[in-house]
């Protein structure tokens, strides 16, 4: 097993949140283990994987980049929002950076709760907010050309 060396690592509120940004493959079992608790009957997870095509174009690799300090702050805000809306026990977020290939996981978000609806709704909210607010960028390569996802070059 590859040992993850975090580029950025944070625990919040007595280990209730695990937050890592790493350049090695995501250890899903580690994220799940972090949120499991005897008081929780539900663990819900979102894993964002690299697809081999996007908008009809072949994808050979994706290069992930993050703004770590702002990433941390936005995740903390999202965690506070989740706690205010659902009865969530713990959260784990592991974000991978660097060069990824199809089939690799780019992000894993895990939540635990006493009952399933809280963690299911919470993890759905989390990934939707991540996509809008957390500073992560992807450079997509089809083997010949590269482009940053969601970016159109601007004229000077």
């Amino acid at each position: 097993m590859v040992t993850a060396l975090p580029l950025f690592l944070q625990w919040l509120e007595g280990d209730l949140v695990l937050l890592e940004i790493i350049s090695s493959p995501i250890d899903v079992a580690r994220a799940l283990a972090h949120v499991r608790n005897e008081s929780c009957g539900a663990v819900s997870m979102f894993e964002g994987d690299i697809r081999n095509e996007n908008n009809g174009e072949c994808v050979v690799s994706l290069e992930y980049e993050v703004y770590a300090e702002l990433f941390q702050k936005e995740v903390n805000k999202i965690w506070a929002e989740i706690q205010s809306r659902w009865d969530i026990h713990e959260m784990a977020v592991i974000q991978r950076v660097g060069l990824l290939q199809p089939g690799d996981a780019g992000i894993v978000i895990c939540l635990s709760s006493a009952h399933r609806r809280d963690s299911l709704d919470g993890v759905s909210y989390a990934i939707e907010e991540f996509k809008k607010r957390v500073p992560v960028w992807k450079k997509e390569s089809n083997g010949t050309d590269e482009k940053w996802v969601n970016w159109q070059p601007q004229g000077a």
Binding site: L70, I107, P135, W137
Partner: protein, 74 residues
Amino acid sequence: MQITIMYFAALKDQMKKSEDNYETATGATPASVAREILGFDTLLLFAVNDEIVARDRLLCDGDRLAFIPPMAGG
């Protein structure tokens, strides 16, 4: 006054650097500095000292200004 500019993703590629020191005038804002350096301020969000700020927030000496291109997480 002097500020630090942080570039990410497409802007880092375009500028061929991730960070730079920049001298700008009192009264400068994130949007005005983006126009000075990049030639545009559309599509971007701005962070100052690791907090998202309004594009017309006044900058202070020593601030770290990040130009944030459209995000693509998940």
